[in-house]
Amino acid sequence: MPTKYTDDMLQQIPDATGHFGEFGGRFVSETLMPSLLQLEEQYNTLKHDPEFQEEFYRDLADYVGRPSPLYFAERLTDKVGGAKIYLKREDLNHTGAHKVNNTIGQALLAKHLGKPRIIAETGAGQHGVATATVAARLGLECTVFMGAEDVQRQAQNVYRMKLLGATVVPVESGTRTLKDAMNEAMRDWVTNVDNTFYIIGTVAGPHPYPMLVRDFQTVIGKEAKQQCLDKEGRLPDALVACVGGGSNAIGLFYPFIGDDSVKMYGVEAAGHGLESGEHAAPLCAGEPGVLHGNRTYLMSDNNGQISATHSVSAGLDYPGVGPEHSWLKDEGRAEYVAITDDEALDAFRTLTRVEGIIPALESSHAIAYGMKLAKQMDKDQIIIVNLSGRGDKDMHTIAEIDGITV
């Protein structure tokens, strides 16, 4: 049976007004609407401009170090005793995570729009570092908003951003995490919209952000697909990626949506367990709502107030999720599961010891589910797990859990 998800169909996702089925859209105050419309128009032109695309892919090659390898994790595969586990090594990118693919792209957009100042929100600090990095390279002024709690638990990334010349603003309002950083970035943007480009770090926010961030991140899936064909002569059976906002996951999934045989698993943060209520798993345990410019699955209470979230990994600690994931969930094309803090920490230690690769705590959620899944599959089957970032930034958190002062 031919796929329902033909290229023509996927061209309409999102549609012209930024909707992924009933999700997405543009829910912002009027002051920002003209800028979003301008950005959309500019992006739609540049998307088809060979020079822009060439510049983007040249930067990905020479500055980021792409393509990132698709690595066969042989000892991990043996240990689990099931499907072959491949890791897409986004942790080897410049700045240590997939985030830089997107900031390279958006910084080029900022340059084309003639905006001298860029702002960003960050959770774990990876997107903040990736933004500060491209800002330094292009000589742009850069301010990064970060929840005050995250500033504490990711002190090393804060220092990296400062070294790169960025101003880091700790956000004290609300729950003092990623969602509050995003609120504050939007407040800054509304105030400085004339000279400022907002580099959103994930596939959330108002249209056209979920679309353009996805487009920049699909380099992950395009490479992985070709690499898998080269190494194995066929497509993988399953893809696994962690989902906070969901940019590394959509980047891996998107080029495979039309390949019906490839199953997709997005892994949310179950924190202390979905039943505890202390988690960050809107797709597994939330309902559709509107936050940060788009309609999507959200964690909110009975009165529509956004819930506090919990995850050991700051990068997954967000009550919403990119609208395209909400669409993929309702379509049944991707399955969303959740991994607890403890399971992620176990996977962190396992990968470190068995493969000599220290993963980010975010990516450790994907590793944990990838291992569970592989165990249930046959030895001739193939899984690609997106290793979205490296764990250096998490040394402090892990040491603290171990009761050690580094």
Binding site: F27, E30, T31, L32, N183, R187, V190, V290, S300, N303
Partner: protein
């Protein structure tokens, strides 16, 4: 004719501008809101904007963020806000009340249920900050079915072709955000406001209220000369922040600010 239209057309024939104060419902405590609404009317308010508290008020500055936090400490819900309007209506059936807030609490209640409950409580209009007309159609249908006015925002950045569409979707009045920024941030520039209002009036007859950056009687009077309505929020909410436990002082200070604005505007 809606209460808002009636008030606006009466003021227009009197040659006056509407004074529209904003407070966040449930701030500092739920029990005080109805009293404060009456006090605002006594001081000279023509229309009251009542804020629905939200956990993530992205378009608001620190003053109104803190007001939301104070209200949410008491778990003030959208249903509670509607009850406050019902309470206000027990003794005031003439002053229009416009709810102002963010979309998610309304999504959670459901558009149809919200519109019918709001109409039943005596609400006259609704302004949803993060709902531009492009996304507002479904709610707009429910609002119209319940004879509620929809107030949309126009900003300094709004292009001419959008102005017409926004005015067409609005009823009662449109809310012109006079500065690029969040609530309570900067002072407005009356000359640039007047220039934008001329563009708006060229495209629509709908009354225009101006808000953001009106801090005192002088700026209220200056805006009243060019606008159909003067919207004032953060300076009033500040009186709550600095007198949390002294309700008499909140009422007295709010009364003084609003009545001095009224006098300056009508002078």
């Amino acid at each position: 004719m809606s209460r808002i239209k009636a008030v606006m057309s009466q003021l227009k024939s009197d040659g006056k501008s509407a004074l529209i104060p904003y407070i966040t419902g449930g701030d500092p405590v739920p029990g005080l809101t109805v009293e404060l609404m009456h006090e605002l009317v006594n001081a000279g308010a023509d229309i009251i904007e009542l804020g629905i508290p939200f956990s993530d008020p992205m378009a608001d500055g620190p003053v109104i963020q803190l007001a939301c936090e104070r209200a949410l400490e008491h778990n003030v819900s959208l249903d509670d806000i509607l009850s406050m309007v019902s309470g206000f209506r027990e003794t005031n059936t003439s002053t229009p009340v416009v709810l102002m807030g963010y979309l998610n609490p309304i999504v959670k209640m459901g558009y149809g249920l919200f519109a019918s409950k709001a109409a039943g409580a005596g609400v006259d209009g609704v302004l949803v900050v993060d709902l531009p007309p492009e996304e507002g159609h479904q709610l707009l249908v429910e609002m119209r079915n319940n004879n509620l006015d929809s107030v949309y925002l126009i900003a300094p950045t709004t292009t001419d072709d959008r102005i017409k569409a926004i005015c067409d979707a609005s009823s009662g009045y449109v809310y012109y955000v006079s500065v690029k920024g969040v609530t309570g941030s900067a002072s407005l520039d009356v000359a640039s406001v007047a220039a934008k209002l001329a563009v708006i009036r060229n495209k629509s007859d709908i009354p225009v209220g101006v808000g953001f950056g009106i801090k005192d009687a002088e700026s209220a009077a200056a805006v009243a000369k060019v606008a159909d309505g003067v919207i004032v929020g953060s300076v009033l909410v500040n009186t709550i922040a600095s007198n949390i436990d002294n309700h008499a002082a909140i009422k007295a200070k709010m009364y003084n600010i609003v009545s001095s604005m009224r006098q300056a505007m009508d002078a």
